[in-house]
């Protein structure tokens, strides 16, 4: 195979592998795809990892062949592009490896690697778009790079040489490495201690709702109806609800689509208090909850909600729930995925037959939603 053909196939292989990584990564990263492929989450993650290893092996194979190419092409732009691709490959490989190992003893480091991995993946999309556009313009002869004169790559005024590009990238990688290493051996910083309460949180809430507009909470008119197979059906105002015994504890929130928010402080009313208040009839084996959005419902076995940590929550991290979090009242069950923690609860019905909840009916989610 002649050199030109070899470069073509290497370029194609590199491009295809990056495309596969971007596609599989998008399923793990973008909410819409995560929900769409929720049942195959772990398989997709494993596929992404496997392609990552193949990509790394391909880069190792390509790299020795790229050096003669760089030597043969004197334009600094080409060198820049190749240096950038090598930098991305190094970045993805290192951060991907860290995420694959998943070191739970280094929570901050892991989170940083995830952020870098995601950022590089978003960056490559923009870069590839520009790369393809340039290729298209050249093909249509709308843009032609000027040929270089004999000594143009040497330092003359602000002319940039290939040497400068290599210096920039190698020095840049070294600077990142040294910056991280230098920090690693530093003592605990005051800024870190000041943020320690926030640092316990790893991740962030991604807001899902099944309607475009969230229900609005008006303390004057809001009521929680608790009825069905109970001895004493009640309708509680928010003030009346606040008078019930409360409980506070800290627990992670896990979404079935793969993201988590760690160390969330939940404050609310243990559901057992609601059962005590209304008196469950023996035939009421199940509980159905309704959301004020008039669409979302969830069902539970009554015994699943008797542990103290299964709560009707109104405060999150010492602040009242905001509208998108389900204000004023939502369920939280620490052992179940987030889709079971119904938001904007305004009615609780004790029933003798169990129905499917919103996602169980729509997408076939597990009825109990226990975190596996």
């Amino acid at each position: 195979m002649n050199r030109r053909k070899l470069y073509f196939w290497m370029h194609l292989l590199h491009g295809v592998l990056i495309l596969l990584l971007i596609l599989s990564g998008a399923v793990l990263y973008i909410d819409y795809f995560r929900i769409l492929f929720v049942d195959f989450k772990w398989q997709i993650r494993q596929l992404h990892t496997a392609i990552g290893f193949i990509y790394f092996a391909a880069v190792l194979f390509i790299l020795p062949n790229v050096l003669p190419y760089v030597k043969a092409h004197r334009r600094w732009q080409k060198t820049f592009h190749i240096c950038l691709m090598i930098t991305l490959a190094v970045g993805w490989t290192i951060t991907g490896f860290v995420l694959w190992i998943n070191p739970t003893s280094y929570l901050g480091f892991r989170q940083l690697n995830l952020a870098i991995h995601d950022t590089l993946s978003v960056f490559i999309l923009i870069w590839v778009a520009g790369h393809v556009l340039l290729w298209f313009l050249k093909k249509k002869k709308l843009y032609q790079p000027q040929p270089l004169s004999a000594h143009q790559d040497r330092d003359q005024g602000m002319l940039v040489s290939r040497r400068d590009v290599v210096l920039l990238f190698s020095g840049g990688l070294l600077a990142i490495l040294l910056g991280g290493l230098f920090r690693w051996f530093q003592p605990v910083s005051d800024s870190f201690l000041a943020r320690l309460d926030e640092m316990k949180r790893r991740g962030y809430f991604r807001i899902y709702s099944v309607r475009t507009e969230n229900p609005v909470f008006d303390p004057q008119t809001w009521r929680l109806s608790i009825d069905g197979l109970v001895e004493n059906p009640v309708e509680l105002s928010f003030d009346e609800l606040m008078r019930l015994p409360k409980h506070t504890y800290t627990h992670d929130f896990h979404c079935v689509t793969g993201w988590s928010v760690l160390g969330v402080k939940w404050e609310g009313i243990p559901f057992q208090e609601v059962i005590n208040l209304v008196g469950r009839k023996p035939e009421a084996k199940y509980i159905k909850m309704y959301s004020a959005d008039r669409i979302y419902t969830e069902t539970y076995e009554w015994s699943q909600l008797t542990q103290k940590t299964a709560m009707l929550v109104y405060n999150l991290d010492d602040k009242p729930l905001i509208e998108s979090q389900g204000a004023p009242l939502r369920l939280f069950h620490p052992d179940m995925y987030g889709y079971k923690s119904i938001k904007w609860v305004n009615r609780i019905e004790f029933v003798d037959q169990r129905e499917l909840g919103y996602w169980e009916e729509k997408e076939g989610y597990d009825l109990d939603g226990y975190i596996s």
Binding site: L112, L168, P187, M199
Partner: protein, 238 residues
């Protein structure tokens, strides 16, 4: 001139990358602090456990508290003994159910009860949630050292001066403090924590140093706690 400018830009980019990496990275000690914080927070997730808290003032034991906690059904039993004089102790037993707190003293034999809206409820609840004090202490960390042996991680923290309160003992004018934490590595389970506090000598103080130890046991093991029948006759706390 152009060459100088070019290299100045290159060096500037390097400096920027160095700074960004330094800023976003966490140090080894900070990572260790996050692990400790996570282990302490995990206590709230335990389904059941026992704890023993002991306080020494100038090497003399002045306070002891035992607690048994079970989350489901929810009941916590706390018994504490505080030294009043050389010959006198004050003992009290508390039971925390989901809606009522029961207080029991032996001499004289009395049972009182209060709900969670009572003004003293907040303070009483502090005795069954012992981790809050330790989480606050982490914010005073100056230096951390870690040793690992037989699956146990032992952390030694040097703390900056702070103002706190431990079971009614005010800690002011702290000149130095150290905190030790023992964690089981796999799974991550908090075993015990100890803090040693040195106070500035003063004629108004009755002690110059304090040690406070909390030990956890029987984590997620079946624990028998029973509310005595005498509690049914408890009077409402005024």
């Amino acid at each position: 001139m152009g060459t100088y400018l070019k290299y100045a830009i290159v060096v500037g980019i390097w400096a920027l990358l160095f700074g960004a990496s330094f800023y976003w990275m966490t140090s080894r000690e900070e990572e260790q602090l996050l692990v400790i914080q996570k282990a302490i927070n995990n206590v709230e997730d335990w389904q059941s456990y026992q704890s023993k808290q002991t306080v020494w003032a100038d090497d003399e034991q002045v306070f002891e508290m035992h607690s048994k906690t079970r989350l489901n059904p929810d009941l916590t039993q706390v018994s504490s003994k505080a030294k009043l004089t050389e010959t006198e102790d004050f003992t009290v037993e508390m039971f925390f159910s989901s809606d009522v707190i029961y207080l029991h003293t032996e001499n004289p034999e009395t049972w009182k009860k209060a709900d969670y809206t009572h003004p003293v409820a907040g303070e009483l609840e502090g005795s069954r949630e012992p981790t809050k004090f330790w989480l606050r202490l982490l914010k005073y960390t100056e230096q951390i050292k870690r040793q690992s042996e037989n699956g146990i991680q032992h952390y030694s923290l040097k703390l900056k001066p702070f103002r706190e309160e431990v079971h009614g003992m005010r800690l002011e004018d702290v000149t130095g403090a150290t905190m030790e934490i023992w964690l089981n590595e796999q799974p991550l389970v908090l075993q015990k924590m100890k803090v040693h506090v040195e106070l500035k000598p003063s004629i108004t103080k009755i002690f110059n140093q304090m040690d406070y130890l909390i030990e956890f046991s029987d984590v997620n093991q079946p624990i028998e706690i029973e509310l005595p029948s005498a509690a049914e006759k408890a009077e409402k706390l005024q």
